[in-house]
Amino acid sequence: MSFSCPEQKISCILGPNGAGKTTIIKILSGLVIQDSGEIDFLNVKLKDNKNQIGLMTSNERSFYWRLTGRQNLDFFAELYGLTGKRKNDTINKMLKDFSLDKEADIPLRLYSTGMKYKLLIIRALISDPKVVILDEPTSHIDPLARENIHKIIKENIIAKHLKTVILCTHDLEEAQFLADHLILLNEGRVIAEGSYDDLKKKINPNIVFKIFFVKKPKSSFFKLFQNYKLTENENIVEINLDKESLIPEIIKKAVENDGKILWCKEEKESLFEIFKRLTIKDL
């Protein structure tokens, strides 16, 4: 299996249950040994490059609750090889970046779930890794906290800390919102990889353009586009186009042929639809 993740972007691993998402994460984080082959990561054997991977799971229990947030970070920072001033400076900077500096010295058991999730992210970033793996980063949290984590991922991990993110989630809405690059797995194989648009093209290379007419254009308009698959459903006209550049031309011609448009849009298939069609097709 091989896949690539663009630098300083969010790549999302998707797939049905049993596809191999968790296994990949576990292999990358050293919890599982692959049956065969070698794991190359940044052109180096993975085991020699573990410092370059930060793992964030949604397991709040993976901290020591009797310790403070700072003491937890201090411990894990040392396991990542940080010591002395560098360690303290990194911890202080991270706590400030994630607005946890005021609560740093209270025991973790008194933290809210949102604060614990922030600390999970800080831990993943503490060794300044090139790649951060976010395994189900928003499971078990409420929608507001979820929105906050999304904001942190985009604005803090990507924009500020310039990390490459590998996101593993079951939440397709989250994947569509966050991911720049999608990796679709099924039965331990990569079945599709690319941006949302790339995957959309894979299941339907044409663009579906929808127009809602208050007043339909004259028949000459329809003749102009007779070579394209065109369907009419009351006031809505749907045209299958092979290139996006035709859209302005269509609007222009519709207006020239006395058509009155209420709205028009390029119909995008949801990631769920793409996911379903690719995985079922593959099965």
Partner: protein, 266 residues
């Protein structure tokens, strides 16, 4: 050193449970008082088995106690720490750092071993202050060496024990083989000479038997280092055999658990 990070972390956690810390010190002190009164019950009734040790049963048991703390730590610390980390969910986070599983295992248990070491020394100091133990400077060094060898012996046994937990999660034959037998046959609370010959033979296979015997000879009978060389060498033989075996078995158990993805399962 990453090991120190583990010790610091566990020390902070231990200090956060202050009442538990107080209770554990109290329980240790009370167990000494308990044995003291048992021994007082038999004062004057000189046992032939204790002649070598001036007939003082309390001193005899005190030395046994000083070594026995390693038995429970060696047998349980590794396995318990692995299991606690699995259950609490910290093991996954620890393994995902660039830290070897050996460092994680030993680091997580190190404070328990240090506590045992301190407890052993404390018991011997109590013995020397209040019950007539004689510890000269030469003896002190050899006493520390013996305690260190017991420490390493049970480190090896503990790794074997943790290997079973790693693979089978529950059910640990090492505890049965070395745990109960060490308490029963290791000469902690009674001399092994009172046992039938076949059990005495089994007792000689246990590291604790030689450690308690060596310490008693040094502390209670004023033997010198030359007299206990053979006992120390037996401890060394045990370590030379068991330590590499433990590392190999542990290595394979980790590999097995990583292969089948059950490392953090419990």
């Amino acid at each position: 050193m990453k090991i120190f990070a583990f010790i610091k972390k566990d020390l902070l956690i231990m200090l956060s449970y202050r009442f538990n810390l107080f209770l554990s010190i109290l329980v240790s002190a009370l167990s000494l008082v308990f044995v003291y009164y048992i021994s007082k019950t038999f004062t004057g009734a000189m046992s032939q088995y204790l002649k070598e040790f001036n007939g003082n049963y309390f001193s005899f048991v005190l030395v046994g106690f000083s070594v026995s703390s390693f038995v429970s730590v060696g047998l349980h610390a590794f396995a318990n720490e692995i299991r606690t980390s699995q259950v609490e969910g910290t093991l996954e986070a620890l393994i995902s750092t660039p830290t070897s599983i050996y460092t994680i295992l030993i680091g997580n248990s190190m404070l328990s071993f240090i506590k045992s070491f301190i407890s052993s020394i404390a018991i011997l100091i109590i013995g020397s202050l209040f019950f007539g133990f004689f510890i000269n400077i030469n003896n002190l060094l050899i006493i520390l060496l013996i305690l260190l060898l017991v420490f390493i012996s049970f480190l090896a046994i503990g790794m074997l024990s943790a290997s079973f937990i790693m693979v089978f999660k529950q059910g640990n034959p090492i505890n049965f083989i070395f745990g109960y037998s060490s308490y029963f046959l290791g000469g902690i609370v009674f001399p092994i000479e009172v046992l039938p010959k076949p059990l005495q033979a089994m007792a000689y296979l246990l590291p604790i038997t030689h450690a308690t015997n060596a310490l008693r000879k040094l502390l209670l009978s004023q033997y010198d280092i030359n007299d206990i060389k053979i006992l120390v060498s037996r401890l060394l033989v045990f370590i030379i055999i068991f330590l590499p075996i433990s590392f190999v078995v542990f290595h394979f158990s980790i590999r097995q658990a990583k292969k089948n993805g059950s490392l953090v399962q419990y």
